[in-house]
Amino acid sequence: MFSYNLKQDEQYATIQFHGDLDIEVTEIMEYEIIPALQSFSHIEIDFQEVPFVDSTGIGLLLNLIQTLKKNSEAVQVTIKNIQPLVKEVFEMLQLEDILGDEVISFQN
């Protein structure tokens, strides 16, 4: 099952995802995660514990980041610690181009 862990420090927030980012996460994403992250200006999403994704999960992730950025251009979101196999999926879908390389970068 999917769970998350939110650490906050004034304007800075780090959210750790645990488990597969898939269609099952839809409700948690919409009703919990998006509202919880709305108030921060710097957000870090930790993918260390995400072994699998599906297309709906990626759709949710795109929606999350686009929603957070919609409020203010100044909001900075970054995704870190992506597992190599998950990274393969992200590369295939050209997420770097969709989100911009300041959010997600496959170079390092």
């Binding site: 699998f52 599906d54 297309s55 709906t56 759709g59 196999l85 393969e88 295939m92 879908l93 969709i98």
Partner: protein, 705 residues
């Protein structure tokens, strides 16, 4: 020859070889060189002089003198005594010979000429080469020198000489020549059909060098003569054995084998040839009547042109033979060099589809018209359709009295087509006068003898919109093929779960893919959708349906039947079918022809020909070429293959636009200021009048004239 054969003697003291006419002279010569007396040397006779006949084969006397040291004195004495006896013997012989041969000036001349080198005095201090060996005659003050060339190895006392060597009495010279050998080789190969057997021969080479003789001189260059010997070890028998091993039993070319055996140059010889099969002929049709319209004015017998006979429409009468059908002819089989049969290419009969108004007779060898009309023959591969297009002749004008005219065959209207009327035919439409504010649509050809005012004229299976839509569809097809491949690749990635496909299908995935990776697909689908809407009723229901399916697949936000692998592939298949169906090549024989067009919309799957005054404020789309013999004033014209216009543009500044695709050409006799041409995406506007223009794109996609 200065050659020290006994090393032991060498230790004893200096030793030399000396020559002379006779032994006596040789010894004296040697004593002079050594600067000593006869008692202080050991003499060894190496060669007795001999006179030969007329002194021609005479040999000089050679003696070896060894300076005696104290300890070796006794040993040498024996040899000395023997030598003395020999000397006495020789001297007596010489005397005998001198007595026998009468002295004459002639003999002396001969002797001098032939035996020039015989005179010892000429050789003193010199070196020479005879029969591959080095001889020399050094003096104390003058030692001869030898220079070697690269083809020869000169060993002086067992050491290799490089460049120039000095020859002294004690030196031992040996000459070695270099020898190069390239081994011969040959190989037999066969081509894939086993029709030809090739023998590849590469003869070998043996390159040897022979030392040239050199006359005595103080310095000599050793030169070598190159000798190349070709080695071809091929044998007729060997080739035949190899062929037998390859099971070649048929079609030997004995002449070539002999040539190969005797060749001195590398080469390829075809040493056996099979028999190639002779291909037959497929069934075919021979057309006995002219089926294509001859367009253009008819030539009178005197060579002038009759403009009243602009077109000639072929017709056949009932019972007339339209065409002959020729049966297929089978080919003749051939044989390989291993004597296996090679079948000829299979031949196929022609399949005839008889349409309306024709029938096949005499076992299907003749096609006969059962109705009068225009024969239509369409062929694709081995399938030929033959039918008779019936003709409807309308004697007067088309107006409210006559009503609209629709017919499956050809239509001839002998009068005008008047306001708001419609003429539609599957075959050719000929209007003998003018078209006013009306629509004329043919699936083949429209010929208006007069003018088209405020009208829409269309010829071909499709129309302006359809051809544009098909163009967009080919782009959609390309993108979809790539996207389907991406989806399949993604599903193979280990970290990618497909659990949501069961509930939501591919919708989420497609949304992400078209977000960036296949962004242009969405743009194309939107274009397609908009164009379909503006095309309206002119479009076939199939195209309209396809638009809906594309919209549902790529623009819908609700999951539907197209969001699955199967759904995508079946959609792709329909797109491919549609493209195939609207192949522009099918319409290439279509034609729209008129004298003058004003405010009209003209479409032709093939060519458009305006042969009169010109074209004013009209829009033309031609799938083939557009030719305007007169003026193009205002409006927009497009032709897929090319445009030829006598005069374009206007003084009044109305914009006239001429377009062709990137591989098209535009020719204008006179382009006035403000005329716009567009080739592919490149545009050019004429700023001033220009004559005789031919415009096309260069490799950098720029317009060049």
């Amino acid at each position: 020859m200065v050659r020290e054969t006994d090393k032991g003697v060498n230790k004893m003291g200096q030793s030399i070889l000396s020559r002379g006419k006779d032994i006596k002279e040789a010894i004296q010569q040697g004593l002079d060189i050594l600067g000593t007396k006869q008692e202080q040397v050991a003499i060894e006779i190496i060669q007795q002089e001999s006179k030969g006949f007329m002194r021609l084969r005479s040999k000089e006397a050679v003696v070896k003198l060894t300076k005696l040291e104290e300890e070796g004195l006794k040993v040498i004495e024996d040899a000395f005594e023997v030598s003395l006896q020999e000397i006495e013997h020789s001297i007596s012989k010489v005397l005998e010979n001198i007595e026998q041969v009468p002295y004459s000036p002639e003999v002396t001349d001969l002797f001098k000429r032939e035996q020039g080198s015989f005179i010892t005095q000429d050789k003193v201090g010199k070196v020479w080469i005879k029969d591959g060996r080095i001889y020399c005659e050094p003096t104390e003050l003058k030692y001869p020198t030898i220079t070697v060339c690269k083809e020869i190895k000169l060993l002086k006392n067992g050491e290799l000489v490089k460049g120039t060597a000095v020859a002294t009495k004690d030196d031992q010279f040996e000459i070695e020549t270099i020898e190069e050998t390239v081994e011969p080789s040959w190989e037999i190969t066969m081509d894939a059909q086993r029709l030809n057997v090739f023998l590849h021969v590469k003869p070998g080479l043996r390159k040897t060098y022979k030392v040239k003789d050199v006359e005595p001189d103080f310095h000599i260059n050793i030169e070598a003569e190159e000798k190349i010997e070709v080695i071809n070890n091929l044998e007729y028998k060997g080739i035949l054995e190899e062929l037998e091993e390859l099971r070649v039993i048929h079609g030997f070319n004995h002449n070539e084998i002999v040539k190969a055996v005797n060749t001195e140059k590398p080469g390829q010889f075809i040493i056996a040839t099979g028999i190639a099969p002779k291909d037959g002929e497929n069934g075919r049709i021979e057309i006995l009547t002219e089926t294509k319209n001859r367009v253009g004015p008819k030539e009178r017998a005197d060579g002038s042109l009759d403009f009243r006979e602009v077109k000639e429409i072929p017709t056949v009468q009932k019972g007339q033979v339209i065409a002959l059908v020729h049966m297929q002819k089978p080919g003749l089989p051939g044989a390989t060099v291993t004597n296996e049969p090679i079948p000829p290419k299979p031949t196929f009969p022609l399949t005839i589809h008889t349409g309306k108004g024709v029938s096949l007779i005499e076992n299907g060898t003749k096609i006969v018209a059962t109705e009068s009309g225009r024969p239509v023959i369409e062929g694709k591969g081995l399938l030929t359709k033959v039918s008779i297009m019936q003709k409807l002749v309308h004697p007067g004008d088309i107006n409210f009295t006559s009503g609209n005219l629709r017919f499956k065959g050809d239509i001839d209207v002998l009068g005008n087509v008047e306001d708001g009327m419609l003429v539609e035919a599957d075959g050719q439409i000929s209007i003998y006068r003018n078209v006013f504010s009306s629509t004329v649509t043919s699936r083949e050809t429209v010929i208006v003898s007069g003018n088209s005012i405020n009208s829409t004229i269309s010829a071909g299976q499709q129309n302006v919109f359809a051809s544009e839509l098909i163009f967009i569809l080919t782009q959609i097809q390309e993108q979809m093929v790539a996207m389907n491949a991406s989806i399949k690749q993604l599903m193979n990635l280990p970290a990618f779960k497909t659990t949501d496909f069961a509930r939501k299908g591919l919708l989420s995935l497609i949304k992400i893919l078209v977000e960036k990776k296949f962004k242009s697909l969405i743009i194309s689908v939107k274009q397609f959708s908009e164009l379909t809407k503006s095309g309206g009723q002119l479009l076939s229901s199939e195209l309209v349906m396809l638009e809906e399916q594309l919209r549902l697949c790529f623009l819908s936000s609700i999951s539907n039947e197209y969001h699955s692998i199967e759904g995508l592939s079946s959609l792709l298949k329909r797109i491919e079918e549609m493209i195939e169906k609207h192949d522009p090549e099918k319409d290439k024989d279509c034609l729209v022809e008129m004298k003058y067009a004003h405010n009209s919309l003209i479409f032709s799957g093939g060519d458009v020909l305006i042969n009169g005054q010109g074209c004013y404020n009209s829009k033309i789309h031609a799938g083939g070429n557009l030719v305007i013999h007169g003026v193009l004033r205002g409006g927009e014209v497009y032709a897929r293959l090319g445009v030829i216009i006598k005069e374009a543009g206007s003084d009044g500044g109305v914009v006239s636009k001429i377009m062709v695709p990137s591989n098209g050409k535009i020719k204008i006799g006179l382009a006035k200021e403000g005329t716009v041409i567009q080739i592919g995406k490149a545009k050019y506007t004429f700023q001033k009048e220009q004559r005789d223009i031919t415009a096309r794109l260069d490799e950098n996609e720029r317009i060049v004239f």
